[in-house]
């Protein structure tokens, strides 16, 4: 497979996975969590680079430590998770900026999909398929949990388990997407396509479908456009998703 094909396929798969998960992030009012989580990946990448191991492993590890850490702190303190996220995630960005070796810094911050390998593609494909299979199984708990935790628990649904599975999936897609958009921009790839989808949707099914479609489209158009304008793909992909969001604003259902 040509390197361009690799890039395109990987980015589109990330767009699908990120869009789908982003749809639920928005419903759960966790829009900024995606953004903040992607920052946490930076020190993970830095440490991995210093130890000469795969940065993806470092990023995933850092993200998992972060979601467990926030869950523990939420229980032990009365600080709202917003505050916790605001504190620790910017701290980790600062730490990451210091630790990351200079030559890799720009790539870590903004991503560089031209460096994607065949193994990355396989890993991405497997992860995205897993997301597409697992999320429908926990959709009921994810959505009902927003409406009433008591009701959800009374149906025997374990909200904490579902939350953890969900955040774990988000971590995986963010870690994978770092190649595409970097630690600074990956959060927007989770949120913007889903936000655009929400403008168009009355039902959960159309909402998820549009979110995946917009994620895929942003990557596809973004990569072609980045070649055309001669700029690195990450920011272009994010800008394309922003343009899609602006267009969908005009199609919001009238009864809103």
């Amino acid at each position: 497979m040509s390197n361009f094909g690799l890039q395109l396929l990987t980015a589109v798969l990330i767009g699908i996975g990120a869009g789908y998960l982003g749809a639920f992030m928005i419903l759960r009012r966790m829009s900024l969590v995606g953004d903040a989580l992607s920052h946490v990946a930076l020190p993970g990448i830095a440490i991995a680079l210093l130890l000469h191991i795969n940065p993806f492993i470092g990023a995933t590890f850092a993200l998992i430590v972060a979601i467990i850490g926030v869950a523990i702190l939420e229980r032990k303190t009365t600080l709202p998770s917003e505050t916790l996220i605001g504190i620790f995630f910017t701290l980790s960005l600062a730490l990451g900026l210091i630790l990351t070796p200079e030559p890799e810094l720009l790539e870590a911050l903004f991503g560089d999909i031209t460096k994607v390998t065949f193994n990355d593609l396989i890993l991405t494909a497997v992860s995205v398929v897993a997301i597409l299979l697992i999320i429908p199984k926990i959709t009921k708990g994810l959505v009902l949990g927003i409406m009433s935790k008591d009701l959800t628990r009374s149906m025997g649904i374990k909200i904490n388990v579902i939350n953890f599975i969900f955040l774990f999936m988000v971590s995986v897609v963010v870690a994978l997407g770092l190649k595409v958009a970097g630690t600074l921009l990956m959060g927007s790839l989770v949120i913007i396509p889903a936000a655009a989808a929400k403008n168009l949707s009355n039902s959960l099914s159309s909402y998820s479908l549009w979110a995946m479609l917009f994620g895929a489209l942003s990557s596809l158009i973004g990569i072609f456009l980045s070649i055309y304008v001669g700029f690195t793909p990450g920011p272009v992909i994010v800008l394309v998703s922003g343009a899609i969001f602006l267009i969908t604003l005009f199609f919001r259902p009238a009864n809103n």
Partner: protein, 237 residues
């Protein structure tokens, strides 16, 4: 016939409650704000740790409608998708919605058409308070529960609509031979619909038939002051 015996000690929210419910009963729970009514429900549902014993009959299905139900105005979720969380069969969904009396005033006698074509594809968040309550009730009876727990079934509904909701609950109870436990602040409702009532203010102040146990002594103990028989709940805090 099944008996339920609850004893909850400690944690100062509920002290030494003892009561039972018989099949087909309507048990109302009344008390001022913060009396522990919702806590009692959550405990009955097994969501709170407790000491003492709660004994239900064998194999009984309990469904619950909470008081607080958050639905964002722009939540992309249709009525159909919401009900499908509980049951995947479209005909069962439609039957359940018909049984809660959902219809469109302008299409009298065409409830099924209205439900299939208009209500089911509608966004849940855009329903009126009364319609949402009916959909919630339809959701709660769709899997034929033996026991229903309603926490303030009519909060968020205008006064005229309240009575229809209680009539509906009563109709469903008779049709489906369900046991209903409901939290209410409206003593009129308790007199009209409940066989038994628990007056709760951290501890049990009374338990029994409403017309026997809801006397002025119990009420003043409950609400702390002189409360007329036909007044709504007051809290003097």
């Amino acid at each position: 016939m099944h008996n339920l015996n609850v004893t909850i000690d400690g944690n100062k929210i509920l002290n030494d409650l003892n009561f039972f419910v018989k099949k087909g009963d309507v048990l109302a729970i009344v008390g001022p704000n913060g009396a522990g009514k919702s806590v009692l429900f959550r405990t009955l549902l097994g969501l709170f740790p407790y000491s003492g014993s709660i004994v239900w009959g064998q194999g009984l299905k309990t469904n619950y409608i909470p008081q607080k139900f958050y639905i964002d105005k722009d939540l992309p979720l249709t009525v159909k998708e919401f009900l499908e969380f509980k049951n995947n069969n479209l005909n069962t969904i439609v039957r359940s919605l018909i049984s809660v009396g959902i219809s469109d005033d302008s299409h009298d006698g065409h409830a099924e058409h209205y439900i299939r074509e208009h209500l089911l594809p509608h966004r849940l968040s855009l329903l009126s308070g009364g319609q949402l309550q009916r959909v919630l009730i339809a959701w709660s009876v769709i899997d034929n529960p033996d026991i229903l727990l309603f926490d303030e079934p009519t909060s968020g509904i205008d006064v005229g609509g309240e009575e229809t909701i209680y009539n509906l609950i009563e109709k469903l109870r008779v049709e489906r031979n369900m046991t209903v436990l409901l939290i209410s602040h409206d003593l009129n409702i308790v007199y009209r619909y409940a066989n038994n009532v628990i007056c709760l203010n951290k501890k049990m102040i009374c338990f029994g038939q409403p017309n026997l146990v809801l006397d002025p002594t119990a009420l003043s103990q409950l609400y702390g002051g002189t409360v007329g028989f036909y007044k709504h709940e007051h809290s003097h805090e």
